[in-house]
């Protein structure tokens, strides 16, 4: 079903970093964001 041009691009490589690094960055961002919301409440309580 897919056109032939796509066959050559099924490389599964991220354009930067590695998959593991990208996944860790996204997971860490959540931890940092939750910590930031806790800090915001504490600083301006």
């Amino acid at each position: 079903m897919r056109d032939s041009t796509l066959e050559n691009t099924l490389d599964d490589q991220p354009p930067f970093l590695t998959w593991r690094a990208l996944h860790i960055i996204v997971a860490l961002s959540l931890v940092i964001e939750i910590a930031a919301f806790a800090a915001l409440r504490w600083i301006y309580r």
């Binding site: 079903m1 056109d3 991220p14 997971a27 961002s29 959540l30 919301f37 806790a38 409440r41 309580r45």
Partner: protein
């Protein structure tokens, strides 16, 4: 609205739609029309995924919600980044390798046709109805605040979307969504700056946050373990994770966005980009609402933000009561201002604590008057919409922002509505064509025939959504039902997909029976308990997996015996 606002509004919308149609002209084969020809970069994928999820209600209602309840709604999104990681690893490679046009197509390869069409039907049911709400909700607010005719507003939003979605298909949707999302983000950032600028000269961002914090508007985290509390850290992390997994992983309106990527890698990065940016974006929108709240601590707000309903109530016998409440509201507000000044002048911790208590009491008194006004309006005009939080942000924009900014924020609202509706219509049409028309009605037709069929179905779904939007006000209970419909089905659908991904021996019949039983459990939960809807996604998914496994074991051992 000034001429400048009209120019900004009409010029920007025309430019975005014109550019989208021009860039995507001539999409005459199925791959290009339904999947954008697999040409999109990760940035386009990421922005269009965000734009599909962000409806106009996001920009109209969320600031109002932050005004009333503070930042706690942000917890709803805590499961999203984790879900994008799982989808990036598990879902996307499987969809690409199976070479599907729709997510449901994958289910036939693993189970059978009825499993595929059952889930596709559930998607069409919930998304078909919610497309109407996506047009209706902003139209009712915008038409009420701006005094535009309601049906004309629905038509303006709906007709433009239907035209460019028919002409350019999935690529036109993604290309316009990219521009629309950039404008939405820039518009809300500009709104934040302008609101801070409109605060009194001696009130810095720090002072504004101190006021918001003292009045509980920065309490984003709720550690309560009560399952009836709608937004908590736990329901956000776990319930939000399952909801996001179902929405981004199995809802064709999202799957279609990342299937248009030029490679698996671009698709995965686009989704992870969404996981990274979603919470900061929603926090910005909520913070805009918090700043509007702070603005109205220094400036007298209306006693009721939905001016149209307030005016209607003033034309009844309740007029003297409302006028008295308006005077009382102005009086309590003046006292609140004094308490606010004292709080801001406090230099040591003791003074600050006393000032905070006085301010909180003063704000409670003003809120009591507002609540009395709401009850008076409800009694005077029985069919009135007395939930005015949806009207706070737009009323603020119209009354307080400079010329040009009003037009820009209306562009934000229209872009949000159009991007969400376009994503929905394109997904509805592709599912109808691929999972029903091509699979069961005309299996051997040409590519050009299926593109024409997709165009016809886009027009039909668009017309249905418009009709639903126009007549939705007559069906108030239906609107509430549609709003919860998604969460009633998402858990079950996700469970079916997880079984398809991770099991090899389970048969289609066992999965279908488990899905029906799990759905019955979720509907019983909805009818009999007050558990937050976020937990339905967890229960539905777990129930399908557990029941299917159990049934498989029972039938296998019965077969052996």
């Amino acid at each position: 609205m000034s001429n400048l606002d009209w120019i900004v509004l009409c010029g920007t919308l025309a430019a975005i739609v014109g550019f989208g149609v021009w860039r995507t002209r001539g999409a005459h084969d199925m791959s290009r029309y339904l999947r954008g020809g697999n040409q999109e970069s990760w940035l386009t994928i990421g922005l269009s995924v965000m734009a599909t999820q962000a409806s106009a209600v996001t920009f109209l209602s969320m600031p109002g919600q932050a005004y009333q309840d503070g930042m706690r709604f942000i917890q709803f999104y805590f499961g999203l980044p984790l879900a994008t990681i799982v989808i990036s690893i598990v879902f996307i490679p499987r969809y690409f390798q199976a070479r599907v046009f729709t997510a449901y197509e994958f289910l036939e390869a693993r189970f059978d046709r009825k499993t595929r069409q059952l889930t596709a039907f559930l998607f069409l049911l919930q998304r078909g109805l919610s497309a109407g709400i996506t047009i209706y909700a902003p139209s009712i607010i915008v038409s009420s605040v701006l005094g535009w005719p309601f049906r004309l507003t629905c038509l303006c939003i709906g007709a433009i979307v239907i035209v460019y979605t028919i002409v350019g298909g999935a690529r036109a949707v993604s290309q316009t969504q990219k521009q629309q999302m950039v404008i939405m983000l820039a518009g809300m950032a500009a709104a934040f700056v302008v609101i801070v600028w409109r605060l009194p000269a001696d009130v810095t961002v720090g002072k504004a946050l101190r006021v918001a914090g003292a009045l509980g508007k920065l309490d984003a985290l709720d550690f309560s373990t009560n399952p009836n509390t709608r937004y908590t850290l736990w329901s956000g992390l776990l319930g939000g994770f399952f909801l996001s997994l179902a929405y981004f992983g199995t809802d064709q309106s999202q799957v279609q966005r990342y299937l248009g990527a030029r490679s698996i890698g671009q698709s995965r990065v686009g989704l992870l980009f969404n996981g990274l940016l979603k919470i900061p974006m929603q926090a910005l929108i909520l913070l805009v609402g918090v700043m509007v709240f702070v603005f109205y601590q220094f400036n007298l707000p209306p006693v009721f933000f939905n001016q149209a309903e307030l005016t209607r109530a003033k034309q009844t016998v309740a007029a003297p009561t409302i006028e008295r409440l308006e005077e009382e509201h102005a009086g309590t507000f003046a006292k609140q201002r004094v308490a606010l000044e004292r709080f801001l002048r406090a230099t040591d911790a003791t003074d600050r604590a006393a000032g905070r208590r006085d301010l909180q009491r003063a704000v409670e008194r003003t809120a009591t008057v507002r609540e009395e006004a709401r009850r008076t309006i409800a009694a005077a005009v029985p069919d009135a919409n007395t939930k005015d939080s949806d009207y706070i942000f737009l009323s603020f924009v119209m009354a307080n922002l400079p010329r040009g900014m009003i037009g820009l924020l209306l562009v934000v609202i229209f872009c949000a509505a159009m991007s969400a509706v376009a994503g929905e219509l394109s997904a509805l049409a592709s599912t109808t064509v691929v999972d029903f028309y091509r699979r069961s009605i005309r299996p051997q037709a040409s590519d050009a025939h299926y593109v024409r069929a997709a165009q016809v179905f886009t027009a039909l779904w668009g017309a249905l959504a418009l009709a639903f939007a126009v007549f939705a006000s007559l069906l108030d209970n239906l609107i509430q039902a549609v709003n919860i419909l998604g969460s009633l089905f998402y858990g079950t659908i996700l469970g079916i997909f997880l079984l398809a991904f991770f099991t090899r021996r389970l048969g289609a019949n066992v999965v279908c029976i488990a899905a029906v039983l799990a759905e019955a459990i979720v509907i019983a939960m909805f009818g009999a308990t007050k558990i937050s809807f976020l937990w339905y996604n967890v229960v539905g998914c777990m129930a399908v997996v557990a029941l299917a496994t159990l049934l498989h074991r029972v039938t296998t051992s019965a077969g052996r015996a």
